[in-house]
Symmetry: C2
Subunit: 432 residues, 2 copies
């Protein structure tokens, strides 16, 4: 007799339905591989009468999510409801009752991860969340298990597919941000409200989760520098290309030499020879540098019904083993080797600075003067050709400097009467 | 009291010493993360008096590898000896005695995997082998655990760093094979005897292991088509670049529509927009397509002391958990959904065919005639400029055709009096 694992599914949106469908589709394969049968016993949804692309089997419908907790035949609770407060309540109560939790809720973990994993550790109940970061890419398993031998020196991630699609279309077709966003929406790659995708916060939540795994502590989201892609211009993308770079929205999770950790999301110039520059369209990629393994990179679909369901089902397979294993691995181990977030202004990197300027002699001298006074070095300057209607542009590549110092200098530069419009200041990434 | 896991290390070469050193270096981190202490209790080597870059602690020296099996304090045996017969004996005997096995021996698994995993299943003893494929890249864990929900549609791998380094140098600097190999040897990226790296068999062993995980059965190595890179010319690399391709040595593991599986290693033209074309130098990469997750790719260092040690230590962490878990996962699950190897001659793909020809009218017509008679379509023809000393070349891109049919036609083409020298026939890979 093959053992059955009882699953309670909270939420039957895109991902929830994908989990249900793929468990059905590949049931025979899963049985052979994991030696157990993953059975959805109950499904809780907010509005059972809602019209859905995948019809919800009436026999499985629960009155509400609390019913999943009360059912002794539900051993694993899968939280795919969306939102924060109800999922938080569900997960905390599931842990209290000893039910293993699987969730894909990145915003919840980024905001309440500390609370959830403290309770999970206390109650010895595993919480799995592969689907919370980068959809189908098994980056949680990689960081937690495959690279267990490593101190993480840094992590870099293209972890929002919508913004990467928009930047790819801007680079490949010269579209502006608004047109590329409209195209992404038409193609189904951006939601009607794309705010969290384009303002960087979807990536921000994922960066916080990756940082927690790599460095063993939860970074308060209010302390994380998060910038979006809304103000990137076709000109910036073109100028970057002339210099041999592709603009990407990158998550940075970095161990600094003083033992502090940087966590941020910023538009960045990636050298074309860096493999992250080759990541096009809706794909995600995460580059990890460990002190033992060196450089590694993971690439795949960061969203979508099936890729995300693939990750949820792999968590279910791990949950099935965990049900019978000694309960001393909880999906997050606070090892506390670091524990201090580095203020964004103290982070040192090279920068790309594009200014709108008067096209006349002496302008560069004045700008270079401000930078020089601040002790900020310039590695190169170009005055690229601009299209009709664009301001004359001056692009400066700035040597390694603390971000706060560059921002102060930029404030002085903006006050110069020869400088106009909104400048662009982007971090520059290394070649490898 | 933190639990101790006793390890017996067979072999203290590059990788064995790397495991020992990194267990020491990151001991505190590993304790915090896995909640156990991984202790090397005994080390067996063939010649204890041999001069080694890392000195072998005399207190740990075993008389021979059998002593690791006899020591009740050794719970996990790590086989990193090299060779086939002794490792096979060691591993089979360890399984019989209920000791968990970790090995990085790709040749052994490719040749004797069926026997080893049959015994492991029977005795319920896990065997881990992350280090056997692609060094530091956790591809075994990914295929076995992260993508457990997926039928694998195909796997493509750059799984030999030495040959990828040689091909990269040939492409970037126009070197010929012999000079690039000499450079790889000088840089420490190729061994004094590079035979298995350049003739494709190192990659062949890894392809057999990946196929076993993806499709649940062991392919006999004698039935696997394996080609090397020795006869790739600077001309071929240049012509391919003109057409928008990069030549890579690829492992192919493909589910065919009739339920059979293709396993092969072949030099291949990869379109430059395919991310595998961006994998340079000694790096490895493996692209996986699953029916649920879609396309994913893993990239990293495929060899070297530290990257390989990172994988061995992650196996040790898994072994530490497995010691206390129910014994029903053995590191390889024969699910037997497929089970039939497709003969290489029946595999259908597009091809690149480069011929040395007389530079005169009528030559193309005669060659196209032979192909046409065989029902083989030509998608494009170029007559590239050749350097002094090179034969006039004719390059034909051939539509999807069974390899066997193309080889028969090629035999007839070689018999034409207008065709000279050795032709090149390489598979052409799709854009994504």
């Amino acid at each position: 007799m093959i053992r059955e694992i009882g699953i309670g599914l909270a939420g039957f949106g895109t991902v929830g339905a994908g989990v249900f469908l793929n468990l059905e589709k590949n049931r025979a394969l899963l049985r052979e591989r994991i030696g157990r049968d993953l059975i959805v016993r109950k499904i809780a949804v907010k509005d059972p009468s809602k019209k859905r692309p995948v019809s919800l089997p009436p026999a499985l419908l629960a009155a509400n999510w609390r019913e999943l907790l009360d059912d002794p035949a539900v051993q694993v609770v899968v939280e795919l409801m969306g939102g924060i407060e109800e999922p938080r309540e569900l997960i905390l109560e599931a842990i209290r009752r000893g039910k293993i939790v699987v969730t894909g809720n990145k915003a919840l973990l980024a905001e309440h991860g500390a609370e959830i994993f403290q309770l999970a550790t206390e109650k010895r109940v595993p919480v799995f969340y592969e689907a919370a970061v980068a959809g189908g890419i098994p980056i949680i398993k990689a960081v937690r298990e495959a690279f267990v031998a490593n101190h993480f020196l840094r992590v870099r991630g293209i972890i929002n597919g919508t913004s990467n699609y928009i930047l790819t279309r801007m680079a490949e077709s010269g579209l502006d941000f608004a047109s590329a966003l409209a195209e992404a929406q038409a193609a189904g790659y951006a939601e009607a409200d794309p705010t969290l995708d384009v303002n960087g916060w979807d990536a921000g939540h994922k960066a916080i989760i990756l940082a927690s795994l790599a460095y063993g502590f939860w970074v308060p989201s209010k302390d994380v520098l998060v910038e979006g892609i809304e103000s990137i211009t076709p000109g910036d993308i073109r100028f970057a290309a002339q210099l041999g770079y592709t603009i990407k929205l990158l998550g940075f999770i970095d161990a600094c030499l003083d033992g502090s950790v940087e966590v941020s999301v910023q538009p960045s110039l990636v050298p074309d020879e860096n493999i992250l520059a080759s990541v096009r369209g809706v794909f995600n990629a995460i580059a990890v540098r460990g002190d033992v393994v060196g450089d590694a990179l993971f690439y795949g679909r960061g969203a979508g019904q099936d890729p995300t369901a693939s990750s949820v089902i792999s968590d279910l397979a791990d949950a099935a083993v965990a049900l019978e294993a000694p309960r001393d691995s909880f999906g997050f181990i606070p090892h506390a080797l670091y524990g201090k977030l580095r203020p964004a202004d103290e982070v040192v990197s090279p920068f790309y600075l594009r200014l709108g300027v008067d096209d006349k002699p002496g302008v560069l001298a004045r700008i270079a003067g401000v930078l020089g006074e601040a002790g900020i070095g310039i590695s190169s300057v170009i005055q690229p050709e601009t299209n009709e209607g664009e301001l004359a542009a001056l692009v400066l590549m700035i040597h390694d400097a603390p971000r706060g110092r560059v921002l102060s200098a930029l404030q002085k530069i903006r006050a110069l009467d020869c400088v106009h419009g909104d400048p662009a200041l982007y971090r520059v990434e290394a070649a490898a």
